[in-house]
């Protein structure tokens, strides 16, 4: 397992995929801050930048990574080489989950960093003491990563099931679209109050974190839901991958 993880880190360091995605997020988030300032439509202080990580558009980039970095290994023979070395299939899958988690962490970090620094420059930092903010930033960032873990589970599963970059990206898009449609429906349904159902969706937790910082139950529920959304696809994928023929 150690060798598989080391190989993943080496490939990540040499791959342009993660670098380009980070660059893209840097540029789009910077432009977003500038546009907001010019249009004067939403003034955000630097210390609130940490809450800007959870948007559906960002999930698309996670899907792109799953397609171009993970599913592509079925096409270029990387998975074949690992398996022919006698590597355990569950280990190979977990190594890819590791890469996916690194990617999600790196991309979220770029977003919150750009949002924090960018908004601090444009709109001012805020009133929280810097030392206190650093601790708050790190704690909140860990929560945000945990709430994004379902993406790692599902998108890696899509890559392993389809073994194709394009299909992985398409399925990732569909996954996000379904969550958005369901979320929107439960949020805006006029009849019976369906809002409590939103708590069964991971995106509820990373989008509502700023309003629930002191709500302990919110984090307990969030961790449970997100870990469930993470482990279910992981278990399904490992079960299927163990029986799967590699092209």
């Amino acid at each position: 397992m150690k060798d598989l993880l080391k190989a993943e880190l080496y490939k990540l360091s040499k791959s342009r995929t993660l670098f380009y995605l980070m660059l893209l997020l840097f540029v789009t988030n910077t432009l977003g801050i500038i546009t907001s300032k010019l249009l004067k439509n939403h003034v955000l202080q630097g210390q609130d930048g940490i809450f800007q990580a959870g948007t559906s558009v960002n999930a698309m980039w996670f899907g792109a990574f799953a397609g171009f970095f993970i599913a592509s290994e079925f096409q270029n023979g990387g998975i074949r080489n690992a398996l022919a070395l006698g590597k355990n299939r569950a280990g190979v899958f977990m190594a890819k989950i590791f890469s996916m988690t690194i990617c999600i962490t790196a991309l979220l970090f770029v977003i919150v960093l750009v949002q924090t620094i960018g908004n601090s420059i444009v709109n001012g930092y805020g009133d929280m003491p810097v030392g206190e903010f650093v601790v708050f930033f790190l704690k909140t960032f860990i929560h945000i990563i945990m709430f994004h873990l379902p993406y790692a589970g599902f998108f890696t599963m899509f890559a392993f099931l389809t073994q194709k970059s394009g299909f992985t990206i398409l399925l990732s898009f569909c996954y996000e679209a379904i969550l958005l449609v369901c979320g929107g429906f439960f949020e805006n349904y006029k009849g019976q109050n369906l809002k409590p159902l939103l708590q069964f969706f991971p995106q509820y937790y990373y989008t509502k974190i700023d309003n629930n910082l002191t709500n302990h139950q919110f984090f307990v529920d969030g961790y449970l839901v997100c870990l469930l959304y993470f482990f279910v696809p992981v278990i399904i994928s490992i079960f299927l991958f163990r029986k799967m023929d590699i092209k």
């Binding site: 598989l4 080496y10 270029n76 023979g77 990387g78 080489n81 022919a84 070395l85």
Partner: protein, 307 residues
């Protein structure tokens, strides 16, 4: 070449593979011993790659089991697969990485830390000077050789090469053949390789297996193949009947007279020089004397058509 001690590196027992209604392999029983260069021959779709994939653990057999170095348990197979090098079908490469980086990935996966080995394996396949050139810019021959270098990084004792000369130009074919020969001779590797270029294969292989429609129809050594491919001596002279009588008297050899001027001899093939001398001393005019053999392609067609 290292001395063969008849220890089985790979043995398969009734291996079958079913894809839906299509049976890609039927009860394949194959044995490869240490030091052998085993040529797996078959048409497209005959099951060569499927068989190699099963051996490498990339796909699973529907029935039967395999033994690597006499062991068949899952953990044993995993252990022995770590000593196996393979290139199956298209070269497995990261196109955006250089040759060094591609080898480094496999080296890291295998838990090898001696970085000087990268240069060594690249030198062995003639890719020591590719510098920062990315694999996507390599020619097909270079990609095949890089895949071979990747396969060699783990110091395998057993190498599985699926169509290693596929798509190569004549120079590439000769280079690849020389590398494989060298690996077998210098490093004593056991090699299982498939190829469409049967005469090319016949210059390397010590043993052959012919797969046809998923069935292993024959396993044969190079020596046995030589006998089976109908070797004969062809003589063209002014009087075939007289020559046949001379040779029969002198060597008790049976000659097959094909025409007034042509005869064939199917036995005592190592005495070709003696036959020539006897005919000349008897006053026969020998216009042509040659050692002939059915090509491996012809033998393959004969065997597969009869099956």
């Amino acid at each position: 070449m290292k001395v063969m001690n008849n220890k089985a590196v790979l043995e398969t027992f009734q291996i079958s593979k079913q894809y839906g209604n299509n049976k890609a392999l039927h009860d394949v029983n194959l044995r490869i011993e240490e030091g052998q260069i085993y040529g797996l021959i078959g048409l497209n779709g005959s099951g060569k790659s499927t068989f190699m994939r099963i051996v490498c653990g990339i796909i699973s057999a529907s029935e039967g089991h395999i033994e690597l170095y006499g062991k068949s348990g899952n953990s044993d197979l995993q252990k022995y697969r770590s000593r196996l090098g393979q290139t199956i079908e298209t070269p497995a490469l990261y196109p955006e990485m250089t040759a060094d980086e591609n080898v480094m990935v496999q080296m890291t996966l295998a838990g090898i830390s001696e970085k000087n080995k990268i240069k060594e394996v690249l030198r062995r396949v003639g890719l020591a000077d590719t510098g920062n050139k990315k694999a996507k810019n390599f020619s097909l021959g270079m990609k095949q050789r890089l895949a071979l270098a990747i396969a060699l990084i783990t110091d395998p004792r057993f190498l599985i090469l699926d169509e290693p000369t596929n798509g190569l130009d004549p120079v590439g074919i000769i280079e690849t053949r020389d590398i494989i020969k060298n690996l077998a001779q210098e490093y004593g590797l056991t090699i299982l390789l498939s190829s469409h270029l049967l005469d090319e294969l016949s210059q390397i292989a010590t043993h052959y297996g012919i797969l046809h429609q998923g069935k292993l129809i024959i396993q044969i050594s190079a020596e046995e193949l030589l006998k089976a491919t109908n070797q004969y001596i062809k003589i063209i002279c002014d009087n075939a009947n007289a020559s046949a009588e001379i040779l029969n008297t002198a060597f008790s050899v049976k000659c097959e007279v094909n025409s007034q001027t042509e005869l064939r001899i199917n036995e005592q093939l190592d005495r070709i020089a003696d036959f020539n001398k006897a005919l000349i001393l008897s006053g026969q005019k020998v216009e042509h004397l040659s050692f002939n053999q059915m090509k491996l392609e012809d033998y393959f067609l004969k065997i597969t058509q009869s099956n």
